[in-house]
């Protein structure tokens, strides 16, 4: 394992039409890092993730994954380089069955006939295993989030980007998902970037935090430090 950051964002700037949504954002996530991206509504969190996977074009700046420049790659290529992205609301395809959603996630892999990953994901989410041949439209919000994460894991990513997994979920389910992220890191060495409104929850499971404010990095540092810093909490995190 190299000591260079696994995911490195250098001076990233992006626009929504004429409006600048991200200004000179830099971020380093080490191997097996758990990084929270926080900030108010409209601070640019979702745009940051969408720019990382090429769903949104970068105006300038660079994104490096494992020292490879992926800034201008189309989304479907970025995914095959090892960056997985669970968009806001999960992006589950409700017309497909649970099993089809999961298989879709690993379809691009050369070893897609190997069932190991599929079985692992099923073991990770028992409710999905029970409903594997049902369409995803029959799942609850928490189950859909599990399915979305499961589909991302089917790609065996190096880095998992999660956009507001707690959105619309009961606090208990949110805690389960946060705990799961730590477990995954411990077991598989997964690196995670977690975008969250729920700052307290996100900081309690991550080891690094970055606060965006109007598209700029307002502050960043170790998660426990941010949690303890009253000024940051009041100014940006609202608790």
């Amino acid at each position: 394992m190299s000591t260079a950051p696994l995911l490195s964002v250098r001076g990233l700037t992006a626009h929504h039409g004429p409006v600048r949504a991200l200004t000179d954002v830099s971020l380093d996530v080490p191997h097996q890092g758990l990084c929270a991206v926080l900030g108010a509504n409209g601070a640019g969190k979702t745009t940051l993730l969408r720019t990382l996977t090429g769903l949104h074009p970068a105006t300038s700046g660079r994104v490096l994954l494992d020292d490879e420049d992926i800034t201008r790659l189309p989304t479907e290529k970025v995914i095959t380089r090892g960056l997985a992205h669970v968009p806001e609301g999960g992006g589950v395809i409700v017309e497909l069955t649970v099993e089809e959603n999961l298989r879709l996630g690993g379809l691009w892999r050369a070893d897609r006939r190997d069932r190991t990953t599929f079985d692992e994901v099923m073991a990770l989410f028992p409710p999905l295993a029970e409903r594997r041949s049902r369409t995803a439209s029959t799942l609850s919000g928490g189950e859909r989030q599990m399915l979305a994460i499961g589909r991302a894991l089917m790609a065996r990513p190096k880095v998992l980007l999660l956009d507001e997994p707690s959105l619309g979920l009961a606090p208990r389910v949110t805690r389960q998902i946060f705990t799961l992220l730590r477990d995954l890191r411990a077991r598989t060495g997964l690196t995670v970037v977690l975008v969250e409104q729920n700052a307290a929850g996100a900081l309690s499971v991550t080891d690094h935090g970055l606060v965006l404010d109007q598209g700029r990095v307002a502050t960043e540092g170790p998660s426990d430090g941010l949690l303890a810093d009253e000024r940051t909490r009041h100014a940006y995190l609202g608790f």
């Binding site: 968009p87 409700v94 017309e95 996630g105």
Partner: protein
């Protein structure tokens, strides 16, 4: 009773052509929410190619294969070269362009092959009740529909195509090349459109030969539910049967009108078509 059976068999045979054309429209609509008005023109190009190839080689089946190949290739090319850049600006523009393409291709076919009628043979003997050519029409459309179902439901390509059609962004995030899936979809759709042309074209070809067929094809697609391939097949057969019964029992002059009656009846009961998916969508 014999009369009824005759009418039913005739209806199914002519319905097969409508079903195939409806299927080709639905495949594209499902993936892009776009009604491809150029579909009959692509079929026209395919069938005229078959006409020429058959004349040159003397073999109907070489011409048949040429028609399907032209359908596949030209359909894919139209999507990649013409529709995709325009669909980026607006969906409506793309629909208008398919309409323009219809006129252009019809014009070009008239320039190349002439506007007078050409005799064009059926695949098999067509004389008599439920002749071999009728059996062939039903069997080939049934076979294509079944094959399509199997590909969509059970192959990785089918899974990718469905994902790309339902949720393009989620598909891209799963590593699916959504653009390629669209091109493949247009190719398959136009291949089936070419098949529809080979079935509905005879006995005479002219640049406007598919105008009426297209009206019934799109009627069939709407009746069945524009986003359901099965609905397209059911709708096509239903239109074929309805027209056959009406022309047999009431009079052939009312056959076309009966298609309209079927549309009105079906849509007043099921506004999205017989087999449409529920329209509730996530916003």
């Amino acid at each position: 009773m014999t009369h009824f059976i005759n009418l039913t068999l005739n209806g199914l045979a002519s319905g097969a052509g409508y079903a195939a054309l409806a299927l080709s429209l639905v495949i594209i609509y499902q993936a892009t929410r776009l009604v491809n008005f150029a579909q009959p023109a692509l079929a026209l190009l395919s069938v005229y190619t078959a006409y020429t190839v058959t004349q040159l080689t003397g073999s109907y089946w070489v011409g048949f294969a040429a028609a399907l190949t032209v359908g596949l290739v030209v359909g894919a090319l139209v999507e990649r070269v013409i529709i995709r850049p325009i669909a980026r600006t607006s969906q409506l523009n793309a629909i208008i362009v398919t309409l323009g393409l219809l006129l252009v291709i019809q014009g070009v076919v008239g320039m190349v092959w002439g506007n007078e009628q050409h005799g064009f043979r059926y695949a098999f003997d067509y004389v008599g009740r439920f002749a071999p050519s009728d059996v062939f029409a039903l069997a080939s459309v049934g076979g294509v529909a079944l094959l399509l179902f199997l590909v969509y439901r059970f192959t990785p390509l089918g899974l990718r195509m469905r994902a790309a059609a339902f949720r393009p962004e989620a598909a891209r995030l799963s590593g699916v090349k959504v653009g390629l899936m669209l091109t493949v979809g247009w190719g398959i759709a136009s291949l089936i459109g070419a098949l529809a042309g080979m079935l509905a074209g005879p006995p005479f070809l002219s640049p406007n030969v598919f105008d009426v067929v297209f009206v019934f094809g799109i009627t069939a697609a709407v009746v069945g539910g524009l986003d359901n391939p099965f609905g397209a097949v059911v709708g096509g057969l239903l239109i074929g049967l309805g027209m056959s019964y009406v022309s047999g029992y009431v009079g052939p002059e009312l056959a076309t009108l009966s298609a309209l009656v079927i549309v009105v009846l079906v849509l007043s009961v099921r506004p999205d078509g017989i087999l449409s998916r529920p329209t509730a969508r996530k916003v």
